[in-house]
Symmetry: C2
Subunit: 178 residues, 2 copies
DNA sequence: CTTTATTATGTCATTATTGACATATAGATG
DNA sequence: CATCTATATGTCAATAATGACATAATAAAG
């Protein structure tokens, strides 16, 4: 079973979700299209790691709400203890920087600024969900710790936020040099 | 032509290199195995974007040193001006965090610490090459700017270093909470 | 009134990427 | 003396991931 499949189980450990929701929530740490996720969910269902219930909706298309089974939870426990794969990053912008001297200053600056716009949108999105979460989680940390159902979400958002702030700082720094 | 192919051309714009060297130098921003890079270089050679010369070696296996052609350089100029793909990250550790509550504190801490070891090795590697580069580049920035052959390398290492420092800080922060 | 965006699911051909195999030399470790 | 690591190239089957297509309801924008 591949990493993304475990990732889907991992999200389902916190909440039951639809395939569509899983795709949205896994995004910051593992980008995948729905065309990859739906077949994997079908596989996981066949193996008995997840279950689903049809939820008819009148205003929107019907959905399938998936939840983790005990078998799936046991698979997760074993997965956590296995060695963790190294993180993969693939960033076209960085590859462009290697030859940025081929274009003039204004064009080079625009390449960086376009990415800055992207990072700023991400920052806004993360900041919104982070702030309430932070206050709640820090308060309850002493009592609940790892068992707090929001703890992992808080820890992950912290990472995503720090990452994107660092990326934006780099954009500023390099623009000043161009 | 795919992004990695342009990335290889981009590296070759700075220096002529072997496929093996390209694989090593592109690593921080685009992880790829030699089994992907060698076929792409063969394609690029057929299209006339790169050339190579055989360099016999007695102590090590013979190598092929690739260099960028004028056609390849022109392809790069057009590539830079096209919209840049969003960066892709795939991090198994983050997916594990979603269900870290399934194991006990010590096991959870070990998962983070293993990644910390990996980050620390990266930090050492980047720091070594960065420091001399920084002094040289900052001095020459006023005179040469983008045209400094080491400028892009400096800017990229700055990014890689900042990234890994942030990642290490997160490891510390989250370990204190576990 | 048409187009676009969001929610929601799915399939399938194509492309990208990996892992295993293969070969070869030198130096280090055990 | 055997094994491991690094350098250096290459092929190919298997897997992972994308992009295009398909369907369908609602709401908003032009």
């Amino acid at each position: 079973m591949n990493t993304l499949s475990y990732g889907l189980l991992s999200l389902l450990n916190r909440n039951s979700r639809t395939g569509y929701e899983l795709m949205q929530h896994i995004q910051p740490f593992w980008q995948a299209k729905h065309s990859q996720i739906y077949p994997l969910l079908a596989q996981l269902e066949q193996k008995g790691h997840v279950q689903f219930v049809h939820v008819p909706q009148s205003d929107k298309p019907d959905k399938k709400v998936y939840s983790l089974t005990e078998l799936g939870r046991e698979a997760l426990r074993q997965w956590i203890l296995k060695p963790t794969d190294e993180p993969v990053t693939r960033d076209e912008l960085m590859l462009k920087v290697y030859c940025i001297g081929l274009v003039d200053r204004d064009q080079a600056r625009k390449v960086i600024e376009d990415r800055e716009v992207f990072y700023r949108q991400r920052l806004l999105k993360f900041e919104k969900s982070y702030e309430q979460l932070q206050q709640n989680c820090e308060k309850r940390l002493d009592e609940l710790g790892l068992q707090d159902p929001q703890f992992s979400h808080y820890v992950l958002l912290h990472k995503a936020l720090a990452r994107v702030k660092g990326d934006l700082a780099w954009c500023d720094w390099v623009k000043a040099k161009l």
